[in-house]
């Protein structure tokens, strides 16, 4: 399946890009995060993150569909 990933803050710095399109067989965001985490050497544990699919926060076992936009959200620090 093809996914579009957006990166913010420390994850964007690590990945060296703000977004990328990837092909992956990952069925849920948890599996997908482990894939990209290894490739980009992300140091943030999945337990520290939230994940949004197509602009909505979802559970880590949310079933991914071809064409989904996925954002792994680092701990926020607004305000």
């Amino acid at each position: 399946m093809k996914f579009r990933l957006l990166y913010f803050a420390s994850l964007a710095d690590r990945a060296g890009c703000a977004e990328e399109s990837i092909d992956s067989a990952a069925g849920d965001p948890a599996v997908l995060y482990e894939e990209v985490r290894q490739r980009h050497e992300f140091t943030l544990e999945r337990a520290r993150l939230r994940v949004a699919v197509n602009g909505r926060i979802v559970a880590w076992d949310h079933r991914l569909q071809d064409g989904d936009e996925i954002v792994f959200l680092p701990p926020v620090s607004g305000g």
């Binding site: 957006l6 913010f8 803050a9 420390s10 964007a12 710095d13 140091t43 943030l44 949004a52 602009g55 909505r56 926060i57 954002v71 959200l73 680092p74 701990p75 926020v76 620090s77 607004g78 305000g79």
Partner: protein, 146 residues
């Protein structure tokens, strides 16, 4: 009007406060978050705020809607800056009007706390020594080694 917005330019607090006008309101509480020149003992020169805009707007809107159902307020509104901010600039503005001050203070406090916990906005501090780093909600660095 009640809403949460992101603002790439300087926030006009006086203009925002007019959104809170209500003839039934006897209290107005406003919180302004400013960029300070230090954090965790380090001198800070400026900040960058990055937002995941679609989700920030929907999550911020949900917080304001929740505030209106939890507290007896007339109006609630909030704005968060994005982009590069200098020391002293306003990073966030939260305003609430209510019939009485107890609800206005409580709602304003609750809203800013929820924004800091939930809204997908990230702060990057640029230090006087030339380094920079993304921060966690407790203002500790994301990457332990920096």
């Amino acid at each position: 009007m009640n809403g949460f917005s992101l603002c790439p330019d300087a926030i006009d607090g006086a203009a925002e406060a007019r959104r809170l006008d209500d003839a039934g309101a006897g209290a107005c509480v406003v919180f302004e978050g400013w960029v300070r020149n230090h954090n965790e003992g380090r001198a800070v020169q400026r900040l960058d705020y990055q937002a995941f805009a679609p989700l920030a707007l929907s999550e911020g809107g949900k917080i304001l809607a929740e505030a209106r159902s939890r507290f007896a307020v007339r109006a609630a509104s909030a704005v968060h800056r994005t982009g590069s901010l200098a020391i002293g600039e306003m990073a966030v503005w939260v305003g609430v009007s209510a019939d009485h001050r107890d609800a206005a203070f409580a709602a304003c406090r609750w809203i800013i706390d929820e924004i800091k916990q939930r809204v997908p906005i990230w702060k990057n501090e640029h230090y006087a020594d030339g380094e920079s780093g993304w921060l966690h909600p407790d203002n500790s660095p994301v990457d332990g080694a920096r």
